[in-house]
């Protein structure tokens, strides 16, 4: 395994070197001004062209929109989805007051119902991207509660419940006209397209170039709409997982040391990916193989 992968990495390194030379010939590219709206149009047009028969809402269903055999198994599983327990636990936690008598509902607009599609957002006061998961923990801390671990457990259950109240609402991510917001967006975009780890893969290698194809036993989900079903119950995990859990495992699969959950790098990536999916309706919580 090792010699093969290092050979692959070396070959890729050579390729990447070639790319550096190529970029050198177009210095203008490196200094482009971020234009999220233009990026979004190109991104969605790419997937529309690749999968012309697929309505945009279907992109929320990832591999199940790509493969008939997988879709059938999914439909069987959705007859009684394994995330039901998490939604129930999340609803209960969401409705239970904190020790100080306040609730999650007090921390969010609309009492926290039907708002999943607006996360992450750029907090212009703090100058940073705020994901739903981060907002939940900040809500807890403001009310004297300990923050929850980010990858699974109660955090997944609460976000599962909040996603369920937002089903069908299209992603509605905004990028304010703020230099820091644009920088965060651009940082997420850079991460998405950068090759990382010993296997020399970027997010785009799997979820743009190879979207819809089989990689070992799995069908790769297209990047468009990929976060619309989160959090997810993955058969492979046998439990629920948040966006952080997915990013962490993606990093590890390319043999790149994952960032800590809610690292600004991951938050910016989520910001970019969610913005690219504007218009894809929330379908979370979801199930995945």
């Amino acid at each position: 395994m090792r010699p093969r992968s290092s050979r692959r990495a070396r070959a890729a390194t050579l390729l990447a070197l070639g790319a550096v030379v190529a970029t050198g010939l177009h210095p203008s590219r490196a200094e482009e001004r971020p234009d999220p709206a233009a990026d979004l149009r190109a991104f969605q047009a790419h997937f529309r062209d690749r999968f012309p028969q697929l309505p945009i809402a279907e992109f929320a269903n990832g591999p199940y929109a790509m493969d008939a055999g997988m879709r059938q198994q999914w439909e069987e599983i959705m007859q009684f989805p394994p995330y039901d327990f998490a939604v129930e636990e999340g609803k209960q936690a969401f409705e239970t007051p904190f020790a100080n008598g306040k609730r999650y509902a007090d921390c969010f607009p609309e009492g926290g119902t039907g708002i999943r599609q607006t996360f992450p957002y750029f907090d212009t006061a703090a100058g940073e991207v705020v994901t739903l998961d981060l907002a939940i923990n900040r809500c807890r801390e403001r009310n004297g509660e300990k923050p929850l671990p980010y990858q699974t457990g109660l955090m997944a259950s609460i976000t599962a419940y909040m996603a369920e109240t937002s089903r069908g609402k299209p992603f509605d991510i905004r990028i304010p006209d703020d230099k820091r917001a644009l920088a965060a967006y651009e940082d997420g975009k850079r991460f998405f397209y950068s090759r990382r780890g010993q296997l020399n893969f970027s997010c785009a290698s799997c979820h743009v170039q190879a979207a819809g194809q089989r990689l070992r036993g799995d069908v790769l989900a297209p990047a468009l709409g990929i976060l619309a079903s989160f959090p997810i119950y993955r058969s492979e995990w046998g439990s629920m997982g948040t966006v952080d859990r997915r990013f962490t495992s993606c990093s590890a699969q390319t043999r790149s040391e994952p960032f800590a959950p809610q690292d600004p790098g991951y938050r910016n990536l989520e910001y970019f990916l969610s913005y690219m999916s504007n218009g894809v309706p929330i379908a979370g919580p979801g199930t995945r193989p």
Binding site: P63, G153, C206, G217, A221, S235, S239, Q253, P289
Partner: protein, 162 residues
Amino acid sequence: MPDRHANPDAPADPARRAVLQLLAAAGLIALGTGRAAAAVPGWPEEAFRKTSQADALAALYGKPLEMSDKVTLQVPEIAENGAVVPVSVGTTLPNVTSVTLLVPENPNTLAASFKFGPGVAPAVSCRLKMAKTSPVIAVVESDGRLFGVSKEVKVTLGGCGG
């Protein structure tokens, strides 16, 4: 009421790990000498221990199996994940008293067996684990005789997609 299931992803605390280790040791002994704890009454312990289809069926029913196109088995051609393979069995045969599912390539062949009371439609669905590519065999007991059908399910290495 059982304990809330511990999260497998969370690091076990030392006390819990010690208990797990103790249980693991007990489990190893149980593997060698038979089960440490008594099975739930009625649970076909011997059949569940068998590693071949013929032995499991012999322990469970003690009668021969014939293949029949009157038994329908719905399984995926390629399992999206070996941990969760949806399986549905149905039949047009009369007086069905039980349905049994076998996965010959699993460490223990017998996966599940369902006993039907009167008035229950002769069909059942559940989700099974499959260690690797294997036939899935559905056996229907009808009028005291055994009828079966077999279908292969491919289990590929997962761990990347989603």
